[in-house]
């Protein structure tokens, strides 16, 4: 029985551990603040929103599926809280049973504990089903409609009664009925547990043969070794059934865990949307496009971190960058370049986890993943070891890079001089862009900017942080050629052996 609220076919899976690169992405894009807001103290939400955002959906239909479920969640807040409460109660109770916290050395205790936990779980399944019956008509998304349908079909009264009758029998009041094979060394082998025959007591004689008394023996009360041996033997007999029931408990528990996780994700999303609404920040449903259809077009895209922290003065940006695989951002310090870069990455990740985006409109192709390569504070000192570290970080990034990914560079390779940094960055950018990677690069590297600019490729877009004539910063990015200082000319001559003069004025 699947939850399948986050994906049309499968349950949302937890990847073993987020790859080391996601640490950079979280730090560079400032995602922690966003996660914390979504979670508002709930650790389950915190964990699942982080996973979901860092494991972007890459199919347009999957994104739309989540958008529809999220739309239901926004409109049915009470129902969602009720469902979430059942999952929380179940898992709290399970903890109280201390079940499986200890791995027992005795199949009989595994069996007895499993029976107790399963009895509790059956009660919770009943509760869940009745919620479904109450609410199902108010939900419209494919995800929720099918989920409620499954509760109805698979948790019928008949089914739940069958489960309870097994639990009663497995409690073992009627003795243990086994069969075994004579094995190697004449030891008992392939023990199998059977159901208690109907009317067991009177049937013992008949079932066991003509001479029941002669075929029976009793372990003496004081024979501890004998009692141990018997208990081992009995354990071998019930081992498989105990295992099957314990695993079944895990499976049912797994269902509740999964349900809680998936609901938690949507609770986190709807909470974030509510917080933004409180601060007067408008959001929109983004429009995902297939990954091979290069697109990026938005109106009034605002940096989410700032929307949360200081909503009043937030400046939105517009962009038309369809069919571009390289966006190079240059311009004044403190002009909002980094903020802009982050807002691109955050919006991309929000869209690809099914969330709304803080913008008036947002169109973008899906990417296989978002990576960041930001200069670190400590890198800014011109020191050779830092430059090594930067390249090592890049090399690790490239290790896990797949086509159609997006890589955001922020002041990378500035830990060396402009000449070395530019030459290196140029090779890297070219290599990535030619490998189906979308690159957004914020840089002060003049030689890099100009070399790229004079190539006049239609797939490249040059933005500049705007500075008004009075020196005030507008925090707007404008399409404009990179600024040029005479300093760069010498460097160019030095590096590339050609003069730059011809390209001046572009």
């Amino acid at each position: 029985m699947k939850v399948a609220l986050m994906h049309p076919i499968r349950d949302f899976e937890t990847r073993q551990a987020p790859p080391f690169l996601t640490r950079d992405v979280i730090q560079d894009l400032g995602l922690d603040v966003i996660f914390d807001t979504m979670a508002s103290g709930d650790s389950v939400i915190r964990e699942v929103v982080e996973r979901a955002m860092l494991d972007p959906l890459t199919e347009v239909n999957d994104i739309r599926y989540r958008q529809a479920v999220l739309d239901d969640v926004i409109h049915q807040a009470d129902a969602i809280q009720d469902l979430y409460a059942v999952t929380k109660d179940t898992l709290d109770q399970q903890k109280r049973h201390m079940f499986f916290g200890i791995t027992s050395r005795y199949p009989s205790s595994v069996l007895h504990e499993s029976v107790a936990v399963m009895a509790m779980l059956v009660g919770m399944l009943r509760r869940l089903r009745s919620l479904g019956t109450r609410y199902r008509r108010s939900f419209h998304s494919e995800g929720f409609r099918e989920f409620f349908g499954r509760l109805e079909d698979e948790l019928s009264d008949d089914y739940l009664r069958t489960v309870e009758s097994h639990l009663e029998e497995l409690d073992g009041h009627h003795g243990v009925w086994l069969s075994a094979q004579v094995g190697i060394g004449f030891l008992g082998d392939t023990y199998v547990l059977h159901r208690v025959p109907l009317g067991a007591k009177n049937w013992v004689g008949r079932l066991l043969g003509a001479r029941p008394s002669g075929m029976r023996f009793q372990i003496a009360d004081r024979d501890e070794a004998g009692a141990r041996a018997l208990s081992t033997l009995e354990g071998r007999g019930i081992n498989e059934v105990a295992n099957a029931l314990a695993q079944s408990c895990d499976h049912v528990l797994g269902f509740f865990v999964q349900l809680r996780r998936e609901l938690a994700f949507y609770l986190g999303c709807s909470h974030l949307i509510a917080v933004l609404a409180e601060r007067g920040q408008e959001v929109c449903w983004p429009h995902p496009l297939p990954k091979d259809q290069l697109a990026l077009d938005f109106r009034d895209l605002r940096p989410l971190g700032l929307c949360l922290a200081m909503p009043d003065g937030v400046v939105g940006n517009d962009l038309e960058a369809d069919e571009k695989n390289l966006i190079l951002v240059t311009g004044a310090n403190q002009g909002g370049k980094s903020t802009f870069l982050k807002s691109l990455g955050v919006a991309q990740l929000l869209m690809q986890c099914g969330m709304c985006v803080p913008a008036q409109s947002f169109f973008a192709n899906v990417v296989s993943s978002v990576y960041t390569h930001f200069i670190r504070e400590e890198d800014k000192a011109l020191e050779h070891g830092k430059f090594d570290e930067e390249l090592q970080r890049l090399s690790e990034l490239v290790d896990s890079l797949k086509p159609h990914a997006m890589v955001l560079f922020n002041e990378s390779f500035a830990a060396t001089n402009d000449r070395e940094g530019s030459a290196l960055a140029y090779d890297i950018v070219r290599g990535l862009c030619e490998s189906q990677i979308k690159v957004v690069f914020v840089t002060h590297l003049e030689a890099l900017a100009h070399t790229l600019y004079r190539e006049k490729r239609s797939t490249q877009l040059f933005l500049r942080a705007d500075r008004q004539s009075d020196g005030q910063r507008s925090y707007k990015m404008m399409e404009a050629p990179p600024l040029y200082t005479s300093f760069a000319q010498d460097l160019f001559r030095e590096i590339f052996g050609t003069e730059l003069g011809d390209f001046r004025g572009h």
Binding site: S104, G175, L193, F217, G226
Partner: protein
């Protein structure tokens, strides 16, 4: 006429070998380590002693070569591996029968042992018949096995065992446990409750579930509860268990054939060695059958290597640098000189190992090898426990050399490693000259490792081999030993660099 078993290891002699006596050269040549690595995982004590026994005739060496050649064929090797594995199980089960406390348990394990033995022999007969054997030893043995398997006694034993075991292990019975009371009854087909439970909860199934089964220690020991149960099962099936009783009376004392038991022990010599070789062959190293001369005393090897070193390096997935060696015409002393840590000692040890292994009749490490039929290997390697003061040490050295020279003959191989290393140079020169003349007079063959490279040019019967350094970087060792005139310079230079006293290094240091 009944065929008698001929040893697969020692075709000529009836008294096989001198049990347990480790040859003198073993430790110096690291052959103790090599043999430990060869027999690793084989509990059989007698196996090691096979490696202590050198063969003294060419015919018995060739007898073993032929067996090894057959063992390179998959069909032969797997037949032998299977047989040995199965026989080990036979012994394990027999041991269990002997150590069991309960009579029914003794019976059960005897039945298992005989069953496994019959299978082992039958499979051996089958596999050896279809295997492509050419060695005289194997041909004789194949006839012996065929004869035994066809014998009436064996066939009856095999038939009875199979039938009885099949019947007993087909028994299924019912157990009803209520508190401390156990009831045994006949089994009527009933379904497994586990399947029902799994079916009921199958709709929740996902992923790979945790395994909650309790691991019971796989005890093959019977306890008194099991003893009572099998007793009741026997009461339910009286006729069958009567047959178990008489079976055990019949075969309990002796069911193993002596010849096969001996073969089982002996063939492990070949198996372990083949297994050992394969480890290195997998790394691209080569083994060869050495040509062994009775009349000439030239020795020669190509791409040879030290097995002890190879075994050590294998752990790090590395291989030793292979080396050649050669004494031709009237040359009888190979003098190895050159920089320290250049592999000289390993090289001398390697030649000793190869000469020894050749006398075991096993393939030797290298691409090609020619050796002579010798009567012993005498080694002098520096011992750590020897005296500290120079005089005491020299005395010690001389006593040991004297002993070697007393015992060596014209068919002996003498290996002297770093001899007189702590003696004054002038003394060492003179002593060396004397000793070399002594060896030449004895007509022995010798490998001498020394830092006194002039020894190499003392005489037309000595030949110089040098451990080479890298052409570009004289501190770098190549571990290649080549036949060439001693090059005092390389040695001097590398030492100078080690202590940073070359021209360049001194200048650089002086500038600081």
């Amino acid at each position: 006429m009944e065929i008698v078993y001929t040893s697969i290891l020692f075709p000529d002699s009836i008294t096989a070998h001198d049990e347990g006596r480790v040859p003198d050269c073993f430790h110096d040549l690291f052959l103790d380590q090599v043999v430990d690595a060869i027999v690793v995982g084989r509990p059989l004590e007698s196996l090691k002693s096979f490696f202590y026994t050198e063969l003294s005739s060419l015919s018995s060496i060739h007898y073993r070569h032929a067996i090894f050649r057959d063992m390179t064929k998959v069909s032969v090797k797997s037949a032998m591996t299977h047989f040995v594995d199965r026989m080990r199980k036979v012994y394990e089960k027999l041991d269990q029968s002997k150590t069991s406390y309960y009579p029914r348990s003794k019976q059960a394990w005897l039945l298992e042992a005989v069953h496994t033995y019959c299978r082992a022999v039958e499979m051996l007969a089958q596999e050896i018949a279809s295997a492509d054997v050419a060695a005289q030893g194997f041909l004789d043995f194949a006839r012996y096995v065929m004869d035994y398997v066809a014998s009436e006694r064996f066939r009856l034993m095999a038939r009875t065992t199979k039938k009885l075991r099949g019947e007993v292990t087909a028994l299924r019975y019912r157990l009803y446990i209520q508190g401390l009371s156990v009831t045994v009854g006949r089994y009527a087909n009933e379904s497994d409750y586990r399947e029902e439970v799994e079916e009921t909860f199958s709709r929740f199934r996902h992923g790979t579930p945790k395994d909650y089964r309790v691991r019971f220690s796989d005890s093959s020991k019977m306890d008194h509860v099991q003893e009572r149960i099998i007793g009741l099962v026997a009461r339910l099936n009286p006729e069958l268990f009567q047959r178990v009783d008489s079976y055990c009376a019949e075969y309990g004392l002796a069911f193993l054939d002596e010849g096969l038991a001996q073969f089982d022990r002996e063939i492990q010599f070949y198996l372990t060695y083949c297994q050992f070789m394969r480890r290195f062959e997998a790394q691209g190293l080569k083994f060869c059958f050495p040509k062994i001369e009775e009349s000439v005393k030239e020795i020669e090897g190509q791409a040879a290597f030290d097995l002890a070193l190879a075994a050590k390096l294998e752990l790090e997935n590395r291989t030793p640098i292979p080396n050649d060696f050669q004494l031709r015409d009237s040359e009888c002393i190979l003098v190895v000189s050159g920089p320290n840590q250049g592999g000289k000692t390993t090289y001398a040890r390697m030649i000793g190992q190869i000469q020894y292994l050749a006398h075991l009749g096993v393939p030797v490490p290298g691409q090609h090898a020619r050796l002579f039929l010798g009567d012993g290997i005498f080694t002098y390697f520096d011992r750590e426990e020897s005296s500290d003061d120079a005089r005491g040490k020299l005395q010690d050295d001389l006593l040991r050399i004297r002993d070697i020279l007393d015992r060596a003959t014209s068919r002996s191989l003498i290996i002297l490693n770093e001899i007189f290393s702590s003696t004054m140079l002038d003394d060492a020169r003179r002593l060396g000259r004397t000793i070399i003349n002594e060896i030449i007079a004895k007509e022995s063959v010798a490998i001498i490792v020394t830092f006194i490279d002039e020894w190499a040019t003392l005489n037309s019967r000595t030949v110089s081999w040098v451990s080479r350094v890298d052409g570009h970087d004289s501190m770098k060792r190549t571990y290649k030993i080549v036949r060439q005139k001693p090059d005092g310079q390389a040695y001097a230079r590398s030492i100078a660099e080690k202590y940073a006293v070359t021209y360049e290094a001194i200048k650089e240091r002086m500038q600081r």
